[in-house]
Structures are given as structure tokens and as C-alpha cells.
Symmetry: C3
Subunit: 215 residues, 3 copies
């Protein structure tokens, strides 16, 4: 079982204990009622952080970025698992189906090394894949490092949850989110999730003005 | 069964009736004999257009674009199906295997919404996939809208038919075709189809000058 | 069975005979002991070269490019097979598992034609795919020819071997390698292979300075 912690001020709903990172820095809006509050899963995939060799910095980096972007109420449901396919899949299913996260952001496990299996675990639990996310994030990271082509990060949809793989390094996490997040609120509209609003000065969300006859 | 209409002046060969859109705007060249005439399938995938909630505008937009591009004789074989995987697959197989379309252009059903299943249906009937089409079309659409990364459009080959997914909106259809069509005549040469000629002022076709020893 | 030839001065270890191309142009460094020497598989996939209709020029073009790039000792293990899925798969497995090549570069068979099956054969023998290579190579080739989108080339990892598909034409091979090789030495580090060093004036290798806490 994955370890989950809800980083809102109220008591965690399913914190099974060890490895969950501290709920610091949460959006004050996450104190609002669940019906108004978007739940966002943050899944850190790391053998070493899971073993306690060092403190997870990637999950908190995602949390801080969401705080920067979002102006509508949200709360994080955080989890930390080792680079094991079954553990990653279970955590994604938990965050999607039982924790009802409209968005799940993973960090780590997207490279070519033998233990890097996050993209395969993601694909295994998704009904449909969104290859444009991986393409766009790699193209963006390529502006900084030639090794960006080694990232296998992808995105997909499970039920009414959008799952996006992010890199392991906090700096690269922000670069990738900056490149794709403008499309995320509309994607969540399309899969039936809550309406996310962003701070337009930090991360303008784009919603096409669809005419009724558009398909 | 999918509903097919051949939009050439001669009587439709397999029009099973309802939902087929009117054969307006066809290329006069499509009156030539079948041996000289390339057949191009145009498959509109849309629940609402299929229900008659509004008139399909996307299929005709593809037709008009082909009229603009092509200088060699061609005729359209048009079809309209709802966003049902089995219906889309059947229509693609019909257009490829029985209607002998060298090129099949789909419109609609490429987004992340639950009913958007055109890419999966395409992959299910193709022997090989051509990921470069989706990459290029998303990169092009990204110049106009950040939500271009949500498109899951792809392309593939079934027998001697090239299948390309296009977006649902007429404006985006033209943008995507403008970005990739220059490679289509050569692709059709390679899979054994008829030689398509284009108006070089509108859409120059590129055919590499292959030396015999090139592999 | 694929035909393999080790193009180092010492006698080929597994040359089963016909079709192996001459071991010309090899890096003098390949005379060093195997423990210091990276083994690089070069697999030409071509019906016509295999039939002897013309001499393979693509394999030697890859060999010459590796000579230009690499400053650390390496030796080529070359093979030539027809465009048959089983023959390509067998050759890849041989180069990876028995010849212990850390890097396998294929040429040919990446287009949409019926006999082009190299990407499928590659995917069939790999545990994980690296879509960023294909994306990057197509984007690079697109600067030269609009038909670059027709290439289906990909890359993947089998055990401790990195497999990369390259186009069939010598000029395009060099363009593609120039676009991606900077990330290859680090990829081989990550999958447990030997340390490749490059001539920084020709092809600078990029290795991110990972902090211990990076995931």
C-alpha cells in the first residue's frame, strides 16, 4: 500500500504512516469544503527518499508550484513510493479512484535506468494516453540540457483523473510545469473535473471558446 | 455499419443512406475513370453531427482543402459515425479495404474526453504507426493554442491506405494539413498507392530523389 | 541467424560468413583489451544490400561517425540482415546479449513501406522505450526534408544495451547522430555500460552534475 497524506489542515483521511512528507506550505484555500476544493495528488517515486536516505524535495517543489499557479481552492494528497511498478500503480489507482484527485503529478523514475519505471506504471493504469505532454516537456527541457531526450515522461487519463509524469529534479519540475500547465485546467474540464482557476500573472490558463457546433 | 457516400457525380457505390453528407464541391476530375482517380476517405467522427444536432462542417472542410491542394484527379468517399470505437474501426476498415482509399482523413474524437477514441480506433486497425504526424501537427497547433498538447491525433498505415487523424475544428484541420500534407504524396508512393500531384503554389509535394542504392 | 563481423584487427569472434562488411576504417583503439573497449553494434537492415545488389554504405557511415566522435577505445560489431522482423530481432538480441554491445545503431527499415519493420522489431526486444530520440531526430531531419515525418525511428533499452534506429541514407544518418549523440554517453552510464568519452570539438558529451539527493 502506498502511504498517503492529505496536506490540508484537517486530519489526513488516509495517512497510513511512514514516509508521508510534512504538510507544510499548503494553500489556505484548502481549508474550504471538499465540494469546492480540487484535490491534487503528488506522488514522489524514489527508492532513496522512500528509504529515508534523504528528504524528498521534489514533492514539496510540486506543491509550491501549485500554490503559485492556482487561485481556486485546492488541497494536496501526497504519497511517496519506491521505484517498484506495483507500488507506483497502486498509488496512482489510490489517488485517482479512492482519493478522487482530478490531477496527479508524479516526480521521479522517468529516465532510462533499470529502476526507472514510472511511465510504464502510468500507462498501465490509464485508459488513454496524451503523448503531447511528454513531447512538449522534452522539447522544453532540451533548451537547458541535451539529455532531455532521455526522459520518458508521459501523461494519461484514468477515469476523471489526469496523470502527468514530471522529472525528479525540482528545477526541471518547474520548467516542465511552466511549459504545459496552461492546458491543464481545460483538460480537467474535458474529463469532468472541478474548474481550476489560475493566477493569470503567473500561469494563464487557456480555455478555447468552443462554439456549440465544434466537435 | 458506417454510412458511406461517394461524393463524385456518379451514383454512390455504397451509400447505405442516412447521415452521409451531400456531395457538394467535389473536384470535377473525380468524374474520370477509377483507374486514374485517387480515392480519399473522409471520416467525420462526431456524436452530435451523427445525431443530426448540427450539420457536419469538418468533413466538408477536409474536402475543400483537398480540392485546393490536389491537381491530379481524386474523389471523396465520405462517412459519418458516432464516437464509438467499433463504429470508427468498421468505417476505417471499409474505407481502406473495400473502398480502396489510398488516404483516409478522420476528423474529431482526438481529445482527452471520455468519448474521444479516434486515435485508439486508428491504432487498432493499422499495421504500423507514424508518430511523426501527430508530433508535427501538435507542434504546429501549439503556435496557435497552448491546448494543442491535449490532442492525441496520430497516423498509421493499413495495407495500402494511409490514415491520418485531424482535429474537429475546420480552422485547425487546415492548419494541421498545411503542416503535414507535403509528405503525403511520397508516403502514398511508398505504400503502393496512386501518384498524387499537387498545385505547387498551394501545397508543394516533396519527393526525395532516391538513388537506387538508397535503402 | 544474423551475420556478425567484429571489425577490429583481431579475428572476428562470431563471423558466420556471408554479407558481413569489410572491417575497414576501424578505430585503432579497438585493438585494446576488451575490458577497456566499448563494443558498438552496427546493424544494417536492407533487403538489397543483403542480396548483394549493392554494397552497404550506411553501416560504414555509422562506423566513420563513431570514429569521429569517440576518443575512448571502441570496437564495432557489424551485422547485415534483410528487412525481416525475425532476422532483425535475432540480430538485436545477438548484439545485445551475446556480443555485449552497450550501444546498437541500426540503419534502414524505418519508413512506412511494407518491408520497413525495424522500429517494430526494436520495440519487440526492448524493455523500455525512449521516445525522445525519435522525436528529436524527426525534428532535426525536418529542417532538411518535409518527409522527415514519415520516419518511424525510435530508441529503447534492452538490458544494458541502448538501441537507436537511424535512417538508411548516410547523409541523414550523420544529421540524426549529430542531433542526439550528446546524450548517449550519459544514457550508457545510466544503464550500467562503459564510460564513453568523446572529442569535445566534434561531439561534446553532456553529463548532468547530479547531486546525491537528486532522484
Amino acid at each position: 500500500m502506498s502511504t498517503l497524506s492529505q496536506t490540508a489542515p484537517q486530519a489526513p483521511t488516509d495517512s497510513t504512516g511512514a514516509q508521508a512528507f510534512a504538510g507544510s506550505g499548503e494553500n489556505p484555500a484548502s481549508t474550504l469544503s471538499a465540494t469546492d476544493t480540487a484535490r491534487i495528488g503528488i506522488l514522489t517515486v524514489s527508492d532513496r527518499a522512500h528509504q529515508g536516505v534523504y528528504e524528498d524535495q521534489s514533492g514539496p517543489a510540486i506543491h509550491a508550484t501549485m500554490d503559485d499557479y492556482l487561485s481556486s481552492p485546492w488541497e494536496a494528497v501526497s504519497s511517496l513510493v519506491p521505484d517498484e511498478p506495483s507500488r507506483i500503480r497502486e498509488a496512482l489507482v489510490e489517488l485517482a479512484d479512492r482519493e478522487h484527485c482530478c490531477l496527479i503529478l508524479t516526480t521521479g523514475g522517468t529516465g532510462p535506468a533499470p529502476r526507472d519505471v514510472t511511465p510504464e506504471a502510468t500507462e498501465a493504469v490509464c485508459e488513454k494516453m496524451l503523448p503531447g505532454f511528454g513531447e512538449r516537456m522534452r522539447a522544453e527541457s532540451l533548451r537547458f540540457v541535451p539529455t532531455a531526450i532521455l526522459s520518458r515522461q508521459t501523461a494519461g487519463v484514468r477515469g476523471d483523473s489526469l496523470i502527468i509524469n514530471l522529472p525528479g529534479k525540482p528545477k526541471a519540475i518547474r520548467e516542465c510545469l511552466d511549459a504545459v500547465f496552461g492546458a491543464v485546467p481545460y483538460a480537467i474540464d474535458l474529463i469532468g473535473g472541478p474548474r481550476l482557476e489560475t493566477d493569470p500573472d503567473v500561469m494563464p490558463a487557456f480555455r478555447p471558446k468552443a462554439k456549440p457546433e465544434d466537435q
